[in-house]
Amino acid sequence: MRTPGLSGAMLPAVRDSNSLHQALDLGYRQLLLERGSLLAMVGPLAAAARRGVAIFVNLDGVEGLAADSAALAFLATDLGFSGVLSVKPHILRDASRFRLRTIQRIHALDSTGLETGLNSMGQPAPYAIAIAPAVAIPQVMATIRGSTNVPVWGTGFITTTDQAAAVLAAGADVVSSAELELWREFRAAPIGD
């Protein structure tokens, strides 16, 4: 892949151009567009991608995009984004054809649902899986590792330092949060540490 990959353990979750600029001002070279209208902030996002910032998009959360090949081609080719997240394996399969990194979102709500999510993982194997809510990761990491060795990202409900630290300590490679305070605190945290 020619697009940039991950550079640290904290993945700032941005929702609008204000939070996008805050993350960039802190020196982050990676972002997760978690929700909001991608099209309303497409200019600054494209500019960041051109400067080598790795941009990942949660296709289940953003507005303004269809979940189809035209949208994926736009993200990959026109915008130069690094990857996409979705709960839907068929979308990720399409995305891999556009050389986007694919991150399978899996809801960790109970053991039945987690099992279903882990079993739904398609081929090719995703670049990573994103467990939501991340705060469940300490409880489910053993189950996950019994089923896959791909990197684990934690997204959802991370608002305190303790929560983020616990998720990383449990073995997650990356944790995502929308909290500016945590972006400041984990700015230098190395990936998978």
Binding site: E34, R35, G61, H107, A108, L109, D110, S111, T112, G113, A132, P133, V135, A136, Q139, V140, T155, G156, F157
Partner: protein, 205 residues
Amino acid sequence: MAARAMTPAARGQAVDRSVARLFEAFDHVPVAAVIRHAEDLPRALASQVPAIFFVRAPAFHLGPLVWAVQARGKMAFVHIDLIAGLGKDRAGIAFLAREIGVNGIITSHSGLVAAAKAERVIAVQRLLLYDDLALHPAMAAIEHARPDIVEVQPAVIFPLVADQIRARHPVPIIVGGFVTEPHQREAALQRGARAISTSKMSLWP
């Protein structure tokens, strides 16, 4: 059938009575057994849990399992979103309520809560809180649907949202999802959950 003739007020009283009976039992044994595989049922039947939640069971073979639960004086709940073979609609709910006679229905969907309330069964609305994007629609949904019981998943989220839920719709809360250790059960109860739901047999007293 009696259920068809019942007025809304009578329905309300009948369900209120069974909800009251359920939580009286939960005050002694605050655990619902989640049955993921039929072979786990005998262990749940032999336990003291007052309620059994069926997830994943095939709908058209559910009758004998539900009746076995009720024969033990326990209440049987069916997760309509997850069980195979049944429409996730009014007719599906009516089948569970009238033909099988379940005590309650578990669902994430407000429309199905309304359908369960229209039948003579306890409506449990499950809140699937995977991120805070899911939180606001979930809060609006319980306020709108007004289920008899709210079930929050996963349990680790409960302390973060307990006050918000109570402010929106003050009904009894059951907490489930990765409750596998006694300290997790205690944490949920301490935060005001009336019971926990778990498939972990060692937590079925």
